[in-house]
């Protein structure tokens, strides 16, 4: 009984901090969802774009730039990284996953070059979280308000965009590229723009994270992809993915629920090093579930690969 109470108390005390963190990381989940679901372009760039955004933001903050400028430049850097991945795939006909791995490997060196060292403290530099109304800066509430507000704006804008003529065209490229092309849609522009946009969100997340935690690290992206995937799957399990609205809500809902779950596991005494194994097993289980449910026999000889 005592154990349960301790676990519960430490979990509850961590809820605000975890919520702030999850609202910031929701942008990576969004950056993973857009290529995977909307563009049918399984992409790993976010693992490199997230620290890219962080490093760019860190360097700019250290140089005395305003937090908003740092955020904007990080966003543009992420956009360019995503464009590169899509271009590598389209121009050289390299598999999307391999193009993403190439990009994220190269980005590691680039991130190191940008910072000049493996980590950089920007503690005390002004952040976007200082601008939260009514609350004292530096507390989780400020982060929750600012990150939540940005998230809400992005969510509303994307939901509107994907229902415009241009947005419908981009979704068509993901649904059936041959058909989209035959309907006069430039598949290259849509893919490069879409993957770029997704990576821009990943980079924004990295930049927000750096402003939140007060330091940038080249290794901050390690494992972010699998965390993001796990969050996305939880989100889709909760709100579904049948409509544009639901699909867009899934990353945000998923991120919030996933990081609370992680926090609960840690509060319950799970050793932090085991976290990646647990997350990996969870994602595996979510991916395997439909095929286990479908048939008891061996897997079909030719089944489409699940992404």
């Amino acid at each position: 009984m005592d154990f349960i109470q301790t676990v519960f108390t430490s979990f509850v005390s961590l809820i605000p901090v975890t919520l702030a963190q999850s609202l910031i990381l929701a942008f990576v989940v969004l950056g993973i969802m857009i290529p995977f679901r909307t563009l049918n372009f399984p992409d790993l760039t976010s693992e490199g774009a997230f620290p890219l955004g962080g490093c760019v933001c860190g360097v700019l903050l250290a140089a005395g730039a305003s937090p908003l400028t740092a955020l904007a430049v990080a966003l543009i850097a992420g956009f360019l990284a995503g464009c590169c991945t899509a271009f590598i795939h389209l121009r050289f006909r390299i598999h999307t996953l391999l193009a993403g791995i190439l990009m994220m490997t190269m980005l590691y060196s680039i991130n190191l070059r940008i910072m000049g060292k493996s980590n950089l403290s920007v503690f005390g530099a002004p952040t976007v979280f200082d601008w939260a109304p009514f609350v004292q800066p530096g507390f989780p509430a400020a982060k929750i308000i600012v990150a939540g507000l940005i998230g809400a704006i992005v969510f509303i804008l994307l939901n509107m965009f994907f229902k415009t003529e241009k947005g419908t065209a981009i979704r068509a490229v993901g649904a059936n590229p041959d058909m989209a092309e035959a309907q006069g849609i430039n598949v290259w522009v849509a893919t490069i723009g879409g993957v770029g946009l997704a990576s821009a969100f990943s980079a924004t997340s990295g930049a927000l994270m750096v402003q939140s935690q007060g330091f940038a690290d080249v290794n901050m992206g390690l494992g972010i992809l699998i965390n993001g995937l796990a969050a996305l799957m939880i989100g889709e399990a909760i709100v579904g993915k049948q409509t544009v609205l639901r699909q867009l809500a899934a990353p945000f809902v998923g991120a919030v629920v996933y990081y609370q779950l992680v926090s609960f596991c840690l509060a319950a005494g799970m050793p932090p090093p085991d976290l990646k194994l647990a997350t990996g097993l969870f994602v595996l289980a979510m991916l395997a579930l439909p095929s286990l449910r479908r048939s008891r026999g061996p897997a079909q000889a030719r089944e489409t690969v699940r992404e």
């Binding site: 035959a182 309907q183 430039n186």
Partner: protein, 259 residues
């Protein structure tokens, strides 16, 4: 109108399995003409259609639509002028999107896509009206995702999408071949009605000799990447299935059975 000038395309050039798909093919289709393309497998029918749509880049030769040279244009630019219905119902529609969204995509084929809302009330009403012409009940399923429709319904939707906006050129690539006889008939009747009503310049590839006899103003027969035969006017009106089959270089009973 459509004009193909000595189009040539060779696959696997210089290799042991070199294949001449189009061997100096020239063809003219007048505005408003409905041409039916026949020919045995490997005669170059699909290559010709792909060359016209832009999916296949020619080694040499030219393709003109309404007098404009489109030879160097990518698929999405040519889409402003032409529409295509594929043999495979899966290919012509976006499965995970709704009927209305698919209609919207086709509607915007030759227009500039803006940042305005895609599906508005007036568009939805127009799509409803157009789909009602098919008599398949699709007008009441605008919000259904296309993957939930049957093959025949999907193909009918593809057709309505293709003829909407009156393209300069309509390409039909064995578009009833994958359907059951009754559905194939519905889709074919709808095709003829639309082509007649809108006076569309149309090129239809078919293996069905009865269709070649019944429909269209001319029959174009391809063989080994060349134009082998063109029957039009009076002669086309009198042609029979047996006549057509007689022209196939390899005469097989299968062709007759297929009709």
């Amino acid at each position: 109108m459509l004009e193909i000038r000595s189009a040539r395309k060779v696959f696997y050039k210089g290799q042991a399995d070199e294949k001449v798909a189009l061997d100096g093919l020239s063809l003219k289709l007048a505005t408003g003409e409905f041409g039916v393309v026949i020919g045995s497998n490997g005669a170059g029918k699909s290559s010709m259609l792909n060359a016209i749509s832009g999916a296949l880049v020619l080694d040499s030769g030219q393709i003109l639509i309404n007098g404009d040279d489109v030879t160097g244009m990518p698929v999405h630019k040519r889409a402003i002028r032409l529409a295509r219905v594929f043999q495979d119902p899966m290919k012509g529609t976006a499965a995970s999107m709704t009927v209305a969204e698919n209609m919207l995509l086709a509607d915007l084929r030759s227009k500039k896509r803006t940042l305005r809302q895609g599906l508005n009330a007036s568009r939805l009403a127009a799509y409803k009206e157009r789909l009602a012409l098919l008599g398949l009940g699709l007008e009441n399923r605008l919000d259904t995702r296309v993957e939930l429709l049957s093959g025949g319904q999907r193909q009918s939707l593809s057709l309505i999408m293709a003829v909407g906006g009156s393209p300069d050129l309509l390409l039909l690539d064995e578009h009833t071949a994958a359907l059951d006889p009754r559905t194939a008939d519905i889709v074919m009747q709808a095709t003829v009605r639309a082509v007649d009503a809108l006076k569309l310049t149309t090129l239809m590839v078919t293996h069905n000799m009865q269709h070649a006899v019944d429909f269209g103003h001319s029959v174009i027969m391809l063989d080994a990447g060349k134009l082998r035969l063109e029957i039009s006017g009076e002669e086309k009106a009198k042609v029979t299935v047996v006549d057509l089959i007689g022209h196939f270089s390899v005469k097989t009973d299968r062709m007759l059975l297929a009709s």
